[in-house]
Symmetry: C2
Subunit: 426 residues, 2 copies
Amino acid sequence: MTADAQSNPLENMGRAAKDAAYALALLSAKEKNALLLSLADTLDERAEAILAANAKDLDAARASGMAESLMDRLALDPERLAGMAGDVRAVCALHDPVGEIIDGSLLDSGLSLMRRRVPLGVVAAIYEARPNVTVDVAALCLKTGNAVILRGGRETVHSNAALVEAIQACLTAHGLPEGAVQAIRSADRSLVSALLRLDAYVDMLIPRGGAGLHRLCREESRIPVITGGIGVCHIYVDESADQAKALHVVENAKIQRPSACNAVETLLVHRAVAPRFLPLLARHLEAFGTLLHAEGEAFAMLFAAVPDRAVPVEPGDYDKEWLSRDMNVKIVDSLDQALAHIRAHGTGHSEAILSENMALAERFVSSVDAAAVYVNASTRFTDGGQFGLGAEVAISTQKLHARGPMGLEALTTYKWIARGDYSIRA
Amino acid sequence: MTADAQSNPLENMGRAAKDAAYALALLSAKEKNALLLSLADTLDERAEAILAANAKDLDAARASGMAESLMDRLALDPERLAGMAGDVRAVCALHDPVGEIIDGSLLDSGLSLMRRRVPLGVVAAIYEARPNVTVDVAALCLKTGNAVILRGGRETVHSNAALVEAIQACLTAHGLPEGAVQAIRSADRSLVSALLRLDAYVDMLIPRGGAGLHRLCREESRIPVITGGIGVCHIYVDESADQAKALHVVENAKIQRPSACNAVETLLVHRAVAPRFLPLLARHLEAFGTLLHAEGEAFAMLFAAVPDRAVPVEPGDYDKEWLSRDMNVKIVDSLDQALAHIRAHGTGHSEAILSENMALAERFVSSVDAAAVYVNASTRFTDGGQFGLGAEVAISTQKLHARGPMGLEALTTYKWIARGDYSIRA
């Protein structure tokens, strides 16, 4: 342990989490599910107290002038709280990956070797003012036998305290240490830095928030961090694409939920089909209030079709995660130009090609370096639920450990187990 | 790209590596093996020039008073160079994991989904003054389609320049960019910090060196880093262990290669067998010049058997990676005490129990949190070659991405590939 860790104000919290992790790692799937079921029941039973705590947060948020959209994410009501309990019950139904034998072999040395899947140990999560994330992350961590340290948005301090009290009451009732699920209750921002230095105890850090939080974690964290969630996603409309069908895919990728990280931000269109496709596109999207950002010929074509929904591209637009009904549209001469644009501006999240040309599509799939690559499908599918993972811990856009939607398996590691007969290395 | 990355003196190197990575990712296993075979041949052909460059490094090292053991690791001769070429040919024979379909499914949405194993992209390695590591890491990265940026010890600057020239000549002959394998040639230490900030281009950092280097990387790197290689390993001798056989396992774990990270540093002995086992141990190890560090009764028993090979434990000894013929010996009352000691002092590398009690052994296996856990075997087996991985990139003692010996698979990630029929998310 470093001197630095010893002077860390979160030292005790880290130690308690580590101790709890040893206990959690020994639980059977059945024991973990019993714990989660009782947690779901406890959330139902304590509804009144939890909603009262949430009301305090809402009052404070209203007084501080929080935006309506953020207030909505912060707000709980009986229905939402019941939904959270239901989500915990759904986690019970998922397969527990802990204990699986990943692979194994009998070695020449006589050793019987296997890799067993085990919990990571201690996970830390930093997230925004969304009380549902508190329960969601805690449930996923407990399901996989991990302890967790939570640092939610400071605007949810009362809600999170009530939720973590409920969780800790269940832990105690099951003979487990409260250190298994802990929340940093102080709004003191310096504690985020302290958390990032807690590498003596924490095995993985999951930031759930905007680009700024991810950058902070990447730059300052001594704990291995899963960064992601930032999506500048592209769709390339090849000259062979079915244009009528392409319109619906683009509409889905841009309009269904513009604020999602898997929404498309830039459409790349082959020059050969641009004169026909771009006016169709402009007129199709007009009804959805989309604003198209384009340059040169593309701008001229879009502007001619629907003048008030096309604006010139400005510097930096191709690197923007719009998170709105804005979309860049660019004409490219070839697949290679499309690939070059994606390499220059993509964030490695989700990229799609729309094409009837199988060889070209395969080249796109092999050449694009992203967590998810689509042929003739919307980028909106990048999601743990859609991919059949049952749960989503986060969406990773880095390449170590887990890439793309992270399910329960991403909360595990493995240990090598070798059994011998007083075997020695030759 | 951040403003910081733009002002990084290694910016061009990072960009060249990233560009090269796109080309390498498209190579077939056959093409990569052809490249590696020609690299092995080139090392043979250029032996004279490489040895001349190495001689310059050796002269400088000698003049600066480098220790003999370090000089030995720096030195090349015709046999060692031929061995390096042979190692490259051995890498050709390994299975290429790139392109494997890890898993897949047909989703309710109609999407055909699969995970394809792909190269990480750009790897960076920081290592000591060992020219063989230059070729080793480059060969493993090329085999898996990764570009690599190498930063070897500054004492090997001429050797590494000659080796990287040989590698780049092969790349050029195969129509591949030199950016695929680059070395930082300046001895300027500030470039290490610059490398650690190259996260816009580098996907994984592998430090191969002492605890100080690993700490520096963990604290400063913005690139995901694989830390490891530090081993405070334990063997617990349970009361049921066969004592005669146990002596040989302990001897192997301590003596075969004391400088290895998987050598044992502390022996934990059950109190019931200590009075018989410890004198046997002291006499058995006496011939190997082992110095035993112990406290209380353990010290008394060892000292009584072989007075000049036992010394009292000093503060901090239990946390020391001796890397020598020193070993701590401690009496414990139970498995739980042994586990508590390992939790307090272990580095998560390799831990062993010697026991005839299967239930106890299984409890040890489940309770110890380490990359490798052994029942009745020496800790010395923790090694990529011993585990049948064919190659060893590093030994990880962290839990993300890879744990324990890392083979070729640890140099890969995956991408999700989904094919639809203009599919949209409902």
